[in-house]
Each structure stands twice: as C-alpha cells, then as structure tokens.
C-alpha cells in the first residue's frame, strides 16, 4: 500500500473520530455517559451506585424490551468509566464524553467529584442526573441542567430534627463530628441550622480531615461534654473508626447517629453486636410503602436486584436506578430525546416509582418533602425504619444501652 494512501486513510479515520456525535441516541439506543468510582477510596459506595445503574438498564432492556419515546422503542446502554475516586480524572473522562457528543450523563459518587463534572456538562449544555452529590454548591450556583435525587446537604437534616423532637426523654444537646469536605460540611451546617431552629443546643461541632487514623482526642472532648445525640456526618471509613474507638474507649452517648456507614455490610462486620442501636439515614428501604411503573414496589425492586446481582443491596442501588428512570420518564413526557425538551421535562417531573415520588426543586435537588431521608436503626441485627412514623417498622431504641451492655 502506498504511503500516501495510508496517510489519507488515517486522516479520514481521525476526522471521523473527531466529528462530534451530537445525537444522544443511535440505532434506537439511549446511551448514558459518566464516570463512577470503581476503584479508590469511594469505590465501595461507587460500586453500589453503579449496580443501581446496571440494574435499571438490565430491567428496561430485558424485562420491558426497551422504552417507547415519541413512537420509537429504545434500549438503554451505559458508557461509564472508572474515575478512581479522583475528581481530576473524572473531569477528563467527562470532558472526553462531552467532546464525543454524549448528551445524558449519570453522576459519579461524592460531591467532590460531582461538582467539577457537573460544571463541565452544564457548560456544554448537557444534562446530568445524579445520586452521588448532595453538596449545596452543586445546586446553588445557577445550574439548570443538573438534577440530584437527594435533597441538598443543608436540607437533609430536617427529618432528623423532627425525630429528635419526638424522642422521650427529649433531646436537649447534640454534638457533631463532620469531615471537612463539600458534602459533609454542608450537611453539618444544615444540621446546626435545623437544630438551632428546634431549640436544641449544639455542644461541639468538630471538623475532621479527609484521611483520619485516630479520633482519640475528639472522643476525649465528647466524653468531657457528653451530648444526648452524637451526630457524625462522615463517610464509611471514618464512621467505622469513630464507632470502634467509641466502643474501646467506652465513650457512651444515648444515641450515636452516623449519616453514612452503618448501612454497609462492612460496618456490621466491623462492629458486630455493637452496631445495634446505631442510627443512620436511608433514602430508600425495601420495606417502604412505595411503588410505581417499571419495577413495581420497593420490595419488587429488591427482589429483582437480588435475583440478578450479588452485591449487598443498599439504598445507593435504588437511588442509582431511579436516575435512569427519571431520564426515561422525562423523555417520555417530552416525546423526544432532544436535550432542551428533556431538560424541561426533568424540571417538571413528578412521578411515582418504587423509590417514592420523584420531584426536583427549582434548583435541581430532590424535593426534601418527598425525597428526604428516613431514619433507620439496627435492632437485633436488622435495620428498622424508625422515622418518619408513617413508614416506621419499629420504635426507636433511645437511650441506647451502654456499649458493654449491648447484646
């Protein structure tokens, strides 16, 4: 083959590759782009979110045979890459997919990653629906094409304070430990504001760095100033570390409430019987009385997931799956896959699902009155919903027994 012919062929291929593929759907396929932490420090939850995306795609393709939008039936495809829990790497991956013409993005896990990546998709006029970033910064900087299944961090504590007010004896004092990152800090700020509004005194608000190997000194402060409730808006690793050191140092509080961590199998393994009575947040539970199209009820989703995936079911799978359902419901309402109509339909979305009623605020985060967290407590090895009362499967155990009295 002539050198000139090879060069011509190469140039043609390069031009083809560089040509933006603006179409979001090709050959009756809707492709969702994005990145997920499959490795790195956020991988544990990242994999949970990924399984949620995969579960929804599998159900729609295999059980429903696709979804009809504007008279055409589409299958769903995922084009998700490992961002290694690294915001810089995630940004590169998302920019590349934007350049390739991907229009619909699913979110990564962790506000530190979602923040820079949603800025890229917003600037490029693409859409992101995500269940991994709750930082207020995602929703309060004027973005119109970024939607979050969870309410923004500062609004995630309202239901918790409602429960505190109902407890007997009444909660009078709270201490807060938070990780100094874009999500945990905002969540702690929201907690402080909600508690102040309810007249509950905040004794301490202690910031931890992202990497922690010891919290002995923090617990010395907690023991010296024992609150009725210790709230930890920390991530899984840190939550386990805090709980373990609380047990070994006999730091007893009437209620230990950790927003992230207790939901995971790793937490249960690490703490054993001591995990009992620890309170956590969940945004979905298979026992919840919610249902809609697609999977059916919350229990049906759980059954389908368990029949097809090995990874232990947590609410992250459900919130990941509902991202895709939101896209599809919006596209069905719009009757097209064009970006602007789908964006407008997402903003106006209000549909029932196995996850609950899905509706976004004007800023794009989940409506806190519908999508706010429920509170769960491990009781005799099983997670029970303790608040709100409409969904509760058990009464809260409060005050909790001392660590060395737990069975």
């Amino acid at each position: 083959m002539q050198r000139r012919t090879i060069l011509k062929g190469g140039a043609a291929l390069a031009a083809l590759g560089a040509m933006p593929r603006m179409a979001v759907a090709q050959e009756n396929m809707i492709t969702f782009g994005g990145s997920v932490p499959m490795t790195g420090k956020a991988a544990e939850t990242g994999m949970n979110v990924l399984r949620g995306y995969e579960c929804a795609a599998k159900f729609i393709n295999e059980e429903m045979g696709g979804v009809e939008i504007g008279g055409t039936t589409y299958q769903v495809a995922l084009n998700l890459f490992d961002d290694a829990s690294d915001p810089a790497r995630a940004s590169s991956l998302i920019q590349r997919q934007v350049d390739e013409g991907v229009g619909f993005f699913l979110g990564s896990f962790g506000s530190a990653i979602v923040l820079p990546t949603c800025a890229i998709t917003e600037t490029a006029g693409r859409i992101m629906v995500q269940a991994g970033g709750g930082s207020d910064q995602i929703f309060t900087q004027g973005r119109k094409r970024v939607f979050g299944i969870f309410p923004r961090a500062t609004r995630q504590f309202i239901s918790s304070v409602n429960m505190f007010k109902e407890l007997d004896p009444a909660v009078k004092t709270v201490s807060i430990i938070y990780t100094n990152d874009p999500f945990s800090k905002f969540q702690a700020d929201g907690a402080v504001a909600s508690l102040a509004e309810a007249g509950i005194e905040v004794l301490d608000s202690i910031a931890l760095p992202a990497e922690v190997s010891d919290v002995s000194n923090v617990l010395t402060t907690i023991r010296a100033n024992t609150p009725d409730v210790l709230v930890c808006t920390t991530h899984d690793n840190t939550s386990i570390l805090i709980a373990r050191q609380m047990i070994s140092s006999q730091t007893n509080v009437p209620m230990l409430y950790q927003t992230l961590g207790p939901q995971t199998e790793a937490y249960q393994k690490a703490l054993g019987k001591y995990a009992n009575t620890v309170v956590a947040q969940t945004y979905w539970d298979e026992a919840a009385n919610t249902s809609g199209d697609y999977f059916g009820s919350a229990a049906d989703f759980a059954a389908y997931y368990r029949a097809n995936f090995d990874r232990e079911l947590t609410y992250h799978m459900a919130s990941g799956a509902v991202c895709i359902l939101s896209y599809l419901e919006a596209a069905k309402a719009a009757g097209t896959l064009d970006l602007d109509p789908v964006r407008d339909a997402l903003a106006a979305l209000d549909f029932k699902s196995f996850y609950g009623q899905v509706r976004f605020t004007e800023d794009g985060d989940g409506d806190p009155s519908l999508l706010g967290p429920m509170l769960i407590q491990r009781q005799e090895g099983t997670m029970k919903i303790i608040s709100p009362k409409t969904n509760a499967s058990a009464e809260p155990i409060y005050p909790a027994p001392l660590w060395d009295e737990r069975t």
Binding site: K41, M47, I206, I240, Q245, S249, A266, W403
Partner: protein
Amino acid sequence: MTLFLQTTLNGLMLGGIYALAAVGFSLIFGVIGIVNLTHGVFVIAGAYLALLFYTELGLDPLLSMLPVGALLFAVGWVYQRTIIDWAISRASVEASLVVTFGMAMILRNLLQLWFGPDVQTITPFYSFFSISLGPFRVDMVRLVALGSSMVLLLGLTLLLARTHFGRAMRAVAQQPLAAALSGLNVKRIHAMTFGVSAALAGASGAIIGIVQPFSAASEVAWTLNAFMVVVLGGVGSPAGALVGGLLLGLINSYTAQYFGPALTQAAMFLVLVLMLLLRPTGLLGNPYGESR
C-alpha cells in the same frame, strides 16, 4: 493537666503504629537509596493477608504477623531482584522512583480486584477492650500495636547490630563498592534488605488491620506517613523511625486536641517542610550517609 497527659498518651500510641509502618521504608532508603513508593501497598497487603488468616484459619493478627512477614519477605525479595534491579541497572536509582510509583498503582488495583473495594477491618476479641490507668484510658489494640512496634523495632536493631547479615547490610549501605570488593554479594544484600523491609511492612499491616478500617486505597496514606516519619526521624535506623513515628503521632495528637482535628495534616506537613529546611537529614541523621 490530665487532658494534656491523655493527649500525649494518645499521640504515643498513634506514633508507635507510624513508626512500625515506616521502618521498612526507612531501611530501604538508608541502605539502597531508593524511595520505595510501593511501601504502602506492602502495608495494606499485610493487612489483607492478616484478614485472610483470621477469617479462613482463625489465626489472631498478632500471630499471623509471622506468616504474613514471611510471605511479604519473599515478595519483597523477588520484587527487588526483578523490577527494582532492572530499573536501577538499566536506568538509575532515580528511575526506581517512577517505577515504584507505577507499581504502586498497579498493585493497588490488583489488591482491589482480589479483595474488592469494600472497607475491611479485623476484629479479634480484644478489639473493643480498653485499659484504665487512673484518669487515663488506653485502647487495648493501640497498646498492643505500640508493644508490637517496640518488639519488632528491637528485633530489627538486634538484627542490624548483632548478626552477620546486619553487619553486611550496614557495610553495603556505607560503601557498596568496598563491600563488594570484600566479597559481599551486594545484589543479594539489597534483595534481602527489600525482603526485610516488606516483611516489616506486612507485619505492621497486620497490626494496622486491627486498629483501623482499611481498603486498597489506604496504601497512599501509609506511604506518605512513612515518608514523613523518615524526614522527621532520619533515614536507615530503627531508632530514627521510632523517633520520627512518635513525633508524628504527638504532632497529630496535640494539633487535634488544641487546634482542631481538621488541621492535623496541615500541621504535619508544616513540620515536614520546616524539618527539610532546618535539618534535612532528620533528627537522628543518616547513619550510613556520612561515609558514602
């Protein structure tokens, strides 16, 4: 005063773990002159192996330090004789920095592939015990960790001071050419040093596994901690690692208690920078560096 003493106690406990996790890094740096960025992977691999021994065989992590150390000794030996030696002989000692960085990334991902991304912990029966000493309280696992660190560091000190291998290692560290001319197999000593270093890292991993949660991604923090310990304490000696580790633990503890836990890393890096500016060889210096 009680608070200050409790804070000091907490810092010393934490420092013991830092010292043990860093001594292997210090040894390789002192003897071969390599900044081994794979060190944290050895630590976390040790934690995973200890977890396996615990879950599959019911072996306590303190006992599994021996088989874990032996396994990682073999890994370290092979690693030095192949990848590290190839990098040094074909390029330069500096090239090993890039090679160990790349290997750390590969090995971290392999660990995650084998063991999954989930956070792990080892929970022997004494995990949740603590000891009260008057008004002070000490976690049993941290006390055990400090004790194990002391035993292993003492063992290494004796190995370096009292055995033929220790003398050979010091000779190679001081004057590799003279050592070779005296009939010592320098490559073999380098491989043995790497093996001992990896074994110590693995043993420390078994301890770290019972003290705090870990995942493959944790390796980065342990390499960084080891680097800081070496800068603070000095290169190549167990005493330097101990001093550096305890100092780092105390800095961490005092900062957390008196300035806020969010500033611990900032304080640690501030001291690191000051140390590099004022005493770049660390508090105890490099016992081998003078004669090179």
